[in-house]
Point group: C2
Chain length 232, copies 2
DNA sequence: ACGCGGCTTTGATCGGTGTCAATCGATCGG
DNA sequence: CCGATCGATTGACACCGATCAAAGCCGCGT
């Protein structure tokens, strides 16, 4: 298998600040890989051997307790980075939620490349800081919000993220209608709830006319202001 | 006020990878500042004007809802970074828990300096990645753990962090006796619980002989294995 | 010593969310 | 078309942790 030219080229975000020579060098160490929905890419506590850049699709980052409780600690969309550069082990499992295409690097190769290309490291730093901000605001949700607030916040977040990452046809502004890349159980794992509570809150919002649920994973936002005020 | 030489010199972590000339240059743009317990350093949603390096003391990073619920989303110990480089606004408030000394940089100065010193940016990246890992494992706690599990995890974390950051006299291995830099309410804000639940769980552990509580904020771990198994 | 105020502990009760179980509904293969 | 299967919904109930309220403890200033 040859190097994956389109991997890098398609992801402008990661390339900004790199010149052509650098892009070619990065190409040389990355390989494209397809991952189908449900397939794992990295296991929790594995030696951190892989780093990857998402080209297409959505993946979940999870941690679990021994007795099987799961928490989704992050969601990776196109152009996001996954894996743990400069670390010994990965603290989270990565599993594809939808069919996905990623550009995979061996961690050693990537680390070496990054250290000698400050432009790439800077980009990576900015992304990591932004991800940390998002993660922290999610802590607020997990620790202090009620189930209705969690659901409303989640729906608003999804309508923004799916639009801006090109996972829905509309690209300007938040989407009003979109397909969730999550099952009900996975929504529960994102919000720290049970599947039953998620289901009840969804149907409650539907009955109140705030949203519509045309299909299992489809959501249409009918009354965004209500949702915003419910989100708290 | 002159530049704060000791700010940088004392923090070996941030200096690794910088040569003397760079350290002097960084000195020139930073100022030492004392913050007393309870005093805020950065306000949530402020324009992100400050970046700082903790020299001594412990600070909390918090986000709040409009109706006053608070969640502590991070804790900064000596040598940790606070503030948001390369970002427009700070998403969290920073308030000192104990009297603290920090080395403050204007964000613009710091950003400019960092961009031209890859060694510093690399260090910052490693720290941010480590912080992201810690934050994610805290999400697991907030979303999926019960009150007893939260308390046990918290006590174990404190015994490790306070030892390794030099906030307790013992420096090798986790501390068995330490002074919390938190009030009961603040412990509740870290764990996503109420003050009453925290108090009840503490006294329960005391009655079971797992810990002792010699003073308001002092904890002695009597039976670490129990605590580990309770943490789940 | 005394009383005051803040933080903490303890008690009684309530409600939200989890748990367990049954039903429903859509998709798929025969 | 029909049953099998998997995910989602709905219902009944229990329990954990929140809420409200009172008392305790400790440090502090007078």
């Amino acid at each position: 298998m040859s190097s994956c030219e389109t991997c890098v080229v398609r992801n402008r975000a990661i390339c900004a600040g790199l010149d052509n020579q650098e892009i070619n060098a990065l190409n040389a160490i990355g390989r494209r890989r397809n991952v189908s929905a449900g397939e794992p890419l990295i296991w929790e506590d594995d030696d951190s051997l892989l780093v990857a850049n998402v080209i297409e699709g959505v993946l979940k980052l999870t941690t679990s307790t021994e007795d099987g409780r799961e928490q989704i600690v992050g969601v990776a969309y196109p152009s996001d980075f996954i894996g743990r550069p400069f670390g010994q082990t990965s603290k989270a499992s990565v599993v594809a939620l939808t069919d996905a295409r990623v550009c995979v690097f061996s961690r050693n190769d990537f680390d070496r490349f990054a250290r000698s290309h400050p432009g790439l490291e800077h980009k990576l730093l900015e992304r990591t800081l932004a991800e940390l901000d998002r993660t922290r605001s999610w802590m607020m949700l997990l620790g202090r919000k009620t189930a209705p607030e969690k659901i409303a916040t989640f729906l608003l977040e999804m309508s923004e993220r799916l639009a801006e990452t090109g996972c829905t046809p509309i690209t300007r502004g938040p989407a009003t209608r979109f397909t969730l890349p999550f099952s009900r159980q996975q929504v529960a794992d994102v919000l720290g709830l049970t599947i039953e509570t998620v289901s009840r809150q969804f149907t409650k919002l539907k009955n109140e006319g705030v949203i519509d649920l045309p299909a299992r994973r489809d959501v249409e936002i009918l009354d965004r202001p209500s949702l915003v005020s419910l989100a708290g």
